[in-house]
């Protein structure tokens, strides 16, 4: 079971980091979510992997560590709030900047991997303050 857990955490982290390095806000948000899943699992297994044992001390000879379970609950709640905030921020940035690129659209020179066909569809005035003539 240890190998399986480690592999799951590794795959989640890898996918999370890959998505975080993308240039659009939505994949980045998905990447952060995957990363936070990996982190939550990681915290959880730091209390050691046991099956069928209660999280209360004194009710048996074997027990599961209750502290990581409490930590993971806190981390889930915080991660949830942060994701919600980031989604709203991404929508706001889309409205303000006129595109969903994480750097905003760079007209002069571009960022290299930015899809320029997208740019022609947006009104020039909305792209950024540098372009307001």
């Amino acid at each position: 079971m240890e190998i399986l857990m480690a592999a799951v955490i590794a795959v989640l982290t890898g996918c999370g980091i890959y998505l975080m390095l993308r240039a659009r806000t939505f994949p980045v948000i998905l990447g952060l979510t995957l990363l936070s899943y990996a982190v939550n699992l990681f915290i959880f297994v730091m209390g050691r992997l046991t099956t069928g044992s209660p999280a209360v001390i004194g009710s048996g000879t074997r027990y599961a560590d209750p502290v990581p379970q409490a930590l993971v609950l806190t981390a889930i709640v915080i991660g949830f709030a942060m994701t919600a905030f980031l989604l709203v921020l991404a929508l706001r940035a889309k409205a303000e900047l006129g595109n969903d690129h994480v750097d905003g659209a760079q007209v002069a020179g571009g960022t290299g991997h930015f899809d320029k066909t997208q740019l022609d569809k947006t009104p020039q005035g909305n792209i950024g303050p540098e372009n307001d003539e």
């Binding site: 952060l32 990363l35 982190v39 942060m82 303000e96 994480v102 750097d103």
Partner: protein, 505 residues
């Protein structure tokens, strides 16, 4: 048990909630409540500063749980100093904000108090997971504060800031979980003791956790390779928010001092010694990048943001020296640089409002409406931030130089002196361009009220004040640094701590 210790956390919490509910009564009421609470917090922190001066660290067990099983708050000299610094900074930033930059909307005041809640909690807590929680509280408030006022520039900077910090939080959680998995405790002092008694085979895991934590705090403090977010973020924030953010990088430095003395310090298997040789090049690189940025900046606010990076580099140099005298000097410099950078951000906000389309770009523009008083303030603040004689920056840098041994001085003296020289060059260029190289008529817009000048002048005179009262302040920082290096004092306080017993029925 003494309940005063938890008030710096409860006061901003309830003020923030009250402000949310009072939103419908309008901005005047919000301003009164907000300023009143900030003033109360200054008084409260001064009381705590005086109590912390007594000697032993004071503990407060939340829910009366016996430490190390429950969460504790710890008040020592360093924590009290940070509380006072933050409370004063917030008060003056809020005074500036009520002069008109707290609109549109009514969200600035509650958010500032939630930010304070997180900051004060992070300074006081003695529990490493709780540190994470308070970091998240203050980050969430800062995300929203950064966007205050709206606009595409803030949305762009905010997106970077939020994503970077969320990735940082994930790393923070991984390192906390690693450390818990190995040591089985979350209390900082207890963790230090357990690491000392650890099986050597488990030490690599602890070191991994320690390095990840360094990465997280380095991101918050904006040290050399992790600083990219800072200039655009600070330059995009509105005036009072940027001033408040001056404390955020210092929080990263504070967390480093706290964790690497208590968890990885001499009692924690000496892991800090492993990190020390790396601090030198990082500090020098941070300093160099800050100086280059200051010289290259094309806007005043960007230039001040790079001054913040210079101050972080200087503080790291102080940590790298690793002695009581150096840490004491670094704490003194921390007070000075926080207040003076905040004052500069507020000044830049006023300047920007009076230059019409030129805004704060360092180019020829219309003359300022209040050029006399603004120029004088900029002159004093620039002298202080560079570290020329009568100012507090001078005392901070000199005591840092005196703390260096001969071999360390070979690196430290040229680095500090050269950075000072280049900063003078950069600031005299921007100052003379903004205030003297003018053409045309003044726009007449954006005249700042006397209250705004009170806020800026207050922050500058705080910085001058610690220069006039240099001796008592340095005695205090010396004692605070001594307490940090004597990590056993906190362990003793923890071991002797007894929860309150219920009276027998």
């Amino acid at each position: 048990m003494n309940h005063l210790l938890i008030f710096p956390i409860l006061l901003p919490l309830f003020t923030g909630l009250l402000l949310l509910f009072c939103a419908k009564f309008g901005l005047p009421w919000a301003r009164i409540i907000s300023l009143g609470s900030a003033t109360l917090l200054v008084a409260l922190s001064l009381v705590l500063l005086q109590r912390a001066g007594a000697g032993m660290p004071e503990l407060y067990a939340l829910g009366n749980w016996q430490p190390p099983f429950g969460i504790v708050l710890v008040l020592d000299r360093l924590a009290a100093l940070m509380l006072v610094m933050t409370a004063l900074l917030t008060l003056f930033s809020l005074i500036y904000a009520v002069c008109g930059s707290d609109g549109p909307g009514d969200s600035l005041h509650p958010l500032v108090h939630f930010l304070l809640l997180g900051l004060n909690g992070a300074f006081l807590t003695g529990d490493i997971f709780n540190l994470f929680v308070f970091f998240e509280v203050l980050l969430l408030a800062s995300y929203a504060l950064l966007l205050h006022g709206g606009g595409p520039e803030r949305a762009r900077a905010g997106l970077h800031y939020v994503i970077l910090n969320l990735a940082g939080s994930a790393l923070f959680l991984i390192s906390v979980a690693l450390l818990y998995g190995v040591t089985g405790t979350l209390n900082m002092a207890d963790m230090g003791q357990r690491i000392a008694a650890l099986n050597p085979a488990d030490l690599p895991l602890v070191h991994t956790g320690g390095l990840l934590l360094f990465l997280v705090f380095g991101l918050k403090a904006a040290i050399a390779p992790l600083y990219f977010w800072l200039p655009s973020t600070y330059a995009a924030a509105s005036g009072p928010v940027a001033a408040l953010f001056a404390v955020m990088t210092k929080l990263g430095v504070y967390a480093m001092v706290r964790i690497y003395s208590q968890v990885f310090g001499p009692i924690g298997g000496g892991f800090a010694e492993f990190l020390l040789p790396w601090l030198w090049p990082l500090a020098l690189a941070t300093l160099a990048i800050g100086v280059v940025g200051t010289l290259a900046a094309r806007q005043l606010r960007q230039q001040i943001a790079y001054l913040v990076i210079i101050s972080v580099g200087t503080l790291l140099l102080g940590l790298a020296l690793n002695s009581v005298a150096a840490l004491s000097a670094a704490l003194y410099y921390l007070l000075h640089s926080t207040w003076i950078c905040a004052a500069l951000f507020l000044l830049a906000d006023v300047v920007r409002g009076q230059r019409g389309a030129a805004a704060d770009s360092i180019v020829q523009g219309p003359p300022l409406a209040q050029t006399g008083v603004l120029g004088l303030m900029f002159f004093i603040a620039a002298l202080s931030v560079v570290g020329l004689p009568p100012s507090s920056g001078f005392i901070g840098k000199v005591s840092l130089m005196q703390a260096a041994s001969t071999t360390q001085a070979m690196w430290l003296w040229p680095a500090l002196l050269l950075s000072g020289l280049l900063t003078i060059t950069a600031l005299s260029r921007s100052g003379s361009t903004l205030f003297w190289r003018t053409d045309g008529e003044t726009t007449g817009a954006g005249r700042a009220s006397p209250l705004a000048f009170l806020a800026i002048g207050g922050l500058i005179s705080l910085s001058l004040g610690i220069s006039l009262l240099g001796q008592p302040v340095l005695v205090y920082t010396q004692a605070a640094a001594g307490q940090i290096f004597d990590s056993q004092s906190y362990v003793r306080a923890l071991l002797e701590f007894q929860p309150v017993r219920e009276a027998a029925p």
